[in-house]
Symmetry: D2
Subunit: 345 residues, 4 copies
């Protein structure tokens, strides 16, 4: 049984484990004030192309989202997200637990647009409702699509005009930035979003997300919020060492590129077999719509998530590839898939 | 410069790193539902001597405290802690941020007693005040002392009579259980406390605390709280693998024993030199009261925390030893210490 | 300019003011522990037909909703409401501010059904999502419709089977219970809902809602929650005196009946003029769909809320009547309305 | 039995009830946007001597404190209060329930000083602790003492230098401003505090506190916070009418003056009888230390709070006078008191 369930099924890239081993007996200060965290932050700033941002290393996506959003908002302010957004349906009300409503908008491609935002603002005119304040976007989105640079520039302009904060969940930012059709770079982000994070957990780290705060007014006292929410690891070095390794050269991008390539392989063969997809994903999550009987057969040998019933006979599944996905397994999957198709033809 | 600042200055015990390496390419389910977490929980239950507890693996002490306490209490209920308690002064208001007041009581030895609790209950008679509900104790305490079994039994009796929850922060439980004068065992705990955690971070793990919930009524839905507070690691295996290694044999206790032994070495030599201590600690944190000039000299070569001014010429410092503290360094420190004393004599 | 904007435009029924005057110099205990609050609670229990409920007097609907819901739920639990529900769109995120998500379901008649609930439960299977726990309904609803007894019995059955709490917002319960087609009585409620409130503010009081907690497990320590949220009035008598007056005889129902009758008058004449309505409301809020030009004319002389654009030429408005609405004003409105219609015919 | 338990035992000053009666049938907008609230705010600004403040009318002290403090602070910031402060011991953890710790300092006279603040700041140096941000003071204090103008100017200076917010709970501000030794005026406050409230409930209103926000940065969106916490009364006029009446002429001050005079009468006679007091109160709360046998005798005819045991034979009680306290009752009390003293002499 091989799992395409997600991109966090294995441990970490061996270079990361090795870096942990090598540094193991060095004594470092605690709580992220060590040499490794400092260097990792410096390196990330270098890759982003500016020192005018703050970088904080955290343990996971839900943790990062809840700390950032609750630190950025005043009590009466709300976030806006698409209904498929991770904070809406997969974080157990973590944002609401910090006191903030999330306003949901529908978008079949998982991407928010200025017209969504316009409608939300129009529907929230006064103090009897929450005040929409932070726009939450994910890149890549929860359904594999990506924001093009121009999409983001338009959101930025809308946010500027309407005093909104633009926040990007980058749990799979690596995969987004390495997608074929992507035209966005890390160094574009500080001018476009107010804060974003670079996901490590889903791109080769044991755990770790690097939150980058671009807007000055959101920077103050951020470590207080991290500590208050239980996110300052005593051995913060664990995060520093990993991000240092991911960004020391191009490892971060190489791993994402590999994951995308594996997904592309799967997609190409399925397209050839006239399979259609629920979403137009150029990243490491793909959502083929398959005959139910094919799914039953695949399930005997492969693990994946049943995503959504499409009609009586067809269902979309989610296949996720990662830095650890082996090409031979993908090729084997394709072969099995073709055989199953032939059998039912 | 060698640091006695804390017990989380180094990485992890090599056996733990090795276990991570060996399991690295196995595919596992996410969010703590993997084989390693299951086995670790099973093993911990075995060591505790009962399967009638729930075990959850978390990343750090503040995180564990805030999730457990906020899950256990209703909105109007409060925790009670000694003024030196970790949740009171070292967690950035994490408990209050979940909505709960902490009622502080003074105890020079860092230990709460039934008479403290009696006074708190008497001072909170009605709905104009919070309702005291959870007793927070640390073992070992923040100042190195430990609870004897009888101390705890008396607390338990008081809590039973008064419908209070008894919760033990075990960030340094290893050191407490391995102290010379200790008469408590892991398997005593389920009958005495309602929940406690076994600290891994300060006893050889990269990160990790094992929360053990003993009282049935506190168990329900606990994983929801973990997820909501951002504490379910995608690669939960990282915690499972470590605790499995710590408890596979006696590694957890061996590491704590070593830390205590190193502290004992320091203490003995200092006692011999007629140094007195701020607290009577049998564990891996000691608080010698030293002439200020001695401190200045020591600081040139060793790192430690200045704890508390005692009089114009004397100050208590904190020395912490750990699983990683090397005996030769301790012996070197003692030698340096003696030389400094001779010089100023 | 006469306002049909809402049912809280005037002060209080004169009998209430008189009761305040008469009791003014009596000394009473504070915080709702006075004779009047006790008697009012007793009287309300009598009207409900059981002493097995707890009655608490609060100041307003948002306050009552937020205190009750946050007291009833554990941190990871969520409320379910129709999208037009007051807690979703008109309370500034008050429920979320206490940490709880509200799951929204769509219902054109403003009423929740077991099939809505089934769908919500199916969509929230595990700890990565909130746990749906409390069903929030309003009677009458925010769009004037009412729950028939059988609607509620079915909800109760579903809630029982699925361990859900059924909570009724009764800001306009008087109007609902006095509607022509209503078949529900106050004394039916304890067997059907777990808690509900009887709205005073919108039915003749200066301010005041009587929360009735029926389910035993929700009763404990409720006054703590009231105090913690700033809802225990020092001069609690102010609420007790008013509810005592409203329920001393049938004043509460007489006032609601009058409001409904005034709405009925408006509705009948509009129906006769072939006006259709956005919702089928038998209560004191009606939503006629009018030509825009008629609305412009009416606005010169009457105040009301523009509710919803229906098509290019038509808009639904909201007309609200109350205990204080004068029949001659209603008749005058009807006359004006007919003249306007003739003019544009 | 006549009660000296508190200053909210009776209803409202008859002029207030009369104003409610006279305005009863006027139609007004809801939620504090009516003519009366506007006029009351205008009048209060006039009395304060500036239009550069925002005035909001709320229902009670706990409500006002919790909304103001939670609106003013970011999640990691804390309030500082003396241990006798109302928010610390009499509001059921209302501030903590909004997520904020209160740091307690001891002051036998109930008054905070710059040296208290200095010590708090020194003890909270970094992100492992909350960030002290708001200084909560009460005037008059919970034990009847008052702040002199110079006390406040010194606090202001300290707060300015250290970026702290100075907030004054004025539940009994009337009594403070009318005390014999007072040298503070309403119009001094905007230059000294960042926000304060003028208590109506304890000075003749049915309910009502007027929050005055002086510092610009604290003003934005305040009504959102009021609504979110359930404090925007539908019939906001109820508060506007009362404050308009209290400040239309000098009623507010006349009522406070009367209360103080009644307390003074009691105090003088007791002083003459060589009774000492727990605190040096020039306001409407006094704390005589009486022989226990005297207390037992007084309790047969008068209601009051037992405040604090002083020694085996003596206890301090609290006597509170108000706008409604009748001089003949006070004289009767004094007579009874003298008789009791003679009897035990």
């Amino acid at each position: 049984m091989y799992s395409f369930k997600n991109d966090y099924s294995e441990g970490a890239h061996p270079r990361i484990l090795n870096a942990l081993l090598e540094s193991n007996y060095e004594q470092e200060d605690g709580y992220g004030e060590d040499e490794y965290c400092r260097k990792a932050a410096g390196l990330i700033k270098e890759k982003i192309g500016t020192t005018e941002v703050d970088v904080h290393l955290l343990s996971g996506g839900t943790q990062t989202n809840l700390i950032a959003i609750s630190a950025f908002l005043r009590p009466h302010e709300a976030a806006i997200a698409v209904s498929s957004g991770h904070i809406l349906g997969h974080e157990t009300g973590a944002i609401e637990a910090t006191g903030h409503k999330i306003i949901s908008v529908d978008a079949s491609d998982g991407k928010i647009t200025p017209s969504h935002l316009r409608a939300v603002l129009d529907a929230h005119p006064d103090e009897h409702m929450v005040k929409p304040k932070l726009v939450y976007i994910s890149n890549s989105t929860e359904i594999g699509t990506i924001y093009k640079k121009n999409d983001l520039v338009q959101l930025r302009e809308f946010c500027d005009k309407n005093h909104l904060i633009l926040y990007m969940d980058g749990a799979r930012l690596g995969s987004a930035l390495c997608a074929g059709e992507n035209d966005l770079e890390l160094r574009d982000l500080p001018a476009i979003v107010d804060a974003f994070y670079i996901g490590g957990t889903k791109n080769g780290a044991l755990l770790g997300e690097a939150l980058v705060i671009c807007r000055d007014s959101l920077k103050e006292d951020f470590r207080y919020h991290m500590k208050q929410k239980g996110a300052l690891l005593a051995k913060g070095r664990l995060l520093g060492i990993q991000f240092l390794e991911l960004f020391r050269d191009n490892l971060f991008f190489e791993l994402a590129m590999h994951a995308n390539k594996m997904a592309e392989l799967l997609k190409e063969e399925m397209c050839e077999a006239k399979i259609s997809f629920l979403t137009d994903s150029p990243t490491n999550q793909i959502f083929p719509i398959l005959p139910n009987s094919v799914i039953s057969d695949l399930e005997k040998k492969y693990g994946f998530h049943i995503w959504k019933k499409v009609d009586a006979d067809h269902t979309a599944i989610r296949l996720v590839t990662s830095w650890a996905t082996k090409e031979e397994v993908v090729l084997g999957f394709i072969e099995d898939f073709k055989k199953i198709l032939q059998r039912i033809a």
